[in-house]
Symmetry: C2
Subunit: 339 residues, 2 copies
């Protein structure tokens, strides 16, 4: 992120809006601190983009939002290198790149672009799917690549920023999210209940661990059937499964399956790309039984991944600097809109 001083040192702003919050970072000659605000608010009309833009504007002007703002500290920059976090009060941003989860599912993405452009007043505004920002952040370049993100959910994305833009999975734990923490936790609870019932393919180790975490099995259905936080509750069981994989063959098989599923999604997202960079992100990759299974499957296909270099916020900042420094970035009507 340091590199040579850019030839056009206008301030750029990167924003990443995800389930866990809104994160914002500015960059003039060096990266500023990462500022945060609460994340997506979903009202009757869907995601409230205007409220998010107002939060981002407040972060830019004052460095905080009422009741919610915080400073994570600068990434890749020492304390003395920090720049003022409020460029709007003094200068108009050259570029804003707004990365947002759920962008693909919004009916009117052009309206999002207008709202962000008007609210933050940059000379150039980009609205981008968090899949694209995550890919750029993880691979560290705007070029052929694919990434699979294995958090609570799981989704893979691959693109050459030209003809191929391919999302794989991300359907939620009921219909997919193969290899996600929610899917692994769900499979773990299923194996636990099969042991409880005396059915084949059960795991008494997982049954014991899950009872310690969640209480008696009779309570489990109401926790995960139709509650809004069912994915998070299921994902909370995944650490039991990865922890048991060393000694319990059923848990080991579930972790192997998760890693294989993630590799399949990643390979499919990359299929057809010319020498793509491959990466995997997300908390589940910290579990060796899953990560190793993923790498084995990639090796079988003659592929390998590189360590993920950064986050979706890093990717958004990368896109913003590219647009500032070259005057152009690739566009796509669903994934990457520029004004």
């Amino acid at each position: 992120m340091s590199g040579p001083v850019p030839s056009r040192p206008g301030t750029v702003v990167a924003v990443d809006v995800g389930g866990s919050g809104l994160r914002l970072q500015t960059y003039a000659v060096r990266p500023g601190p990462v500022l945060t605000a609460p994340g997506v608010r979903v009202g009757a009309a869907g995601i409230d983009v205007a409220a998010l833009v107002a939060d981002a504007r407040s972060l830019l002007v004052t460095g905080a939002v009422a009741g919610g703002g915080a400073t994570e500290g600068a990434e890749g920059a020492g304390g003395d290198d920090r720049v003022d976090g409020s460029p709007c009060s003094t200068t108009r941003p050259e570029v804003v790149v707004w990365s947002m989860r759920g962008l693909l599912f919004l009916a009117d993405r052009a309206e999002v672009l207008r709202t962000v452009a008007e609210g933050l007043g940059a000379r150039r505004t980009v609205v981008v799917s968090d899949a694209v920002a995550g890919l750029v952040g993880a691979t560290g370049h705007i070029g052929p690549g694919a990434v699979v993100a294995a958090g609570t959910g799981a989704v893979a994305f691959g693109t050459d920023f030209d003809r191929q833009w391919r999302r794989v999975d991300g359907w939620g734990h009921v219909l997919g999210d193969a290899g996600s923490a929610a899917a692994l936790g769900m499979a773990g609870l299923r194996a636990a209940l099969r042991a409880h019932d005396g059915l084949p393919d059960g795991s008494t180790a997982l049954l014991s661990a899950a009872v310690d975490l969640l209480g008696p099995p009779d309570l489990w259905p109401r926790l995960v059937m139709t509650t809004a936080d069912a994915p998070e509750r299921l994902a909370g069981v995944a650490p039991l499964v990865t922890a048991a994989a060393g000694t319990d063959p059923v848990a080991a098989a579930l972790c192997e399956r998760a890693g294989t599923d993630l590799a399949d999604s990643l390979l499919r997202a990359a299929d057809g790309l010319d020498h793509p960079r491959l990466a995997a992100t997300g908390g589940l990759l910290a579990a060796a039984p899953v990560a190793e299974a993923l790498d084995r499957r990639l090796a079988l296909a003659g592929a390998r991944r590189s360590p993920a270099r950064g986050t979706a916020l890093d990717g958004a900042l990368h896109l913003a600097r590219q647009l500032r420094d070259t005057g152009a970035i690739p566009e796509h009507p669903a994934y990457l809109l520029v004004s």
Copy 2:
């Protein structure tokens, strides 16, 4: 249901409360008509048993409930054999057997027994899990047997009415219900989305059929993730899978899996019983690819099922007549409470 005229011809009343409604039938010397009312109402305090008892009382006294009652017509009895459906107006019932789905999950089953006993005023009152009533109805006897019910959900139950009372599965589609219509529909949608994404084990036939039924895949997650009617929506996809099984190998494998899962649950419920009668009930059994797979798995285990003889209401009536005619039926603190 006909048989010799009982030696003590007091009127007995059977009630079965399920998701699809409350059904009530009386029996003196012959079965009366089946009367119906709306089913379980779940309030803040759980199932409203008192309201259900009031509905049953109204059916007994007047033959209908306000706005909801209906007569299905007598089962196993011609029109001339019908008895008056309102014994409470003239005589006190000898026995009431109250079968209810969800009984196992109620904290205070003794309170249910009190409420039913006081509300309907029989000399003897029995409250029974619909698993037990369904077993007696399906096998036609109060003796060693097991039944698997494959409707929207799937649960197996086996008992000798003495030392073994075993429920298997019934955990809901997120955690189990293996072999249910919801589980089969969910697996079908997963296979459809894998085809959509270009992943292994997908089915383009199911993708095409599911798009016709539900619209574009992007709409599917919100239908089935956290909505209260997700099980019914998923079960609605099952007919697509069973219909495709003749020509699509993925659909055929899913139906084979469903039948095998149902057989495994049934065999486990019956394990340890002495010469148990085995039966299977529920709408999914009407699909030959599922029923045939179930029977193949049973045959591998040296077992076979008999055709289901009747419903949970029939089972409740059987229990009621047994208590009236012999003065005793088996008891169990969770499954079968008698006062």
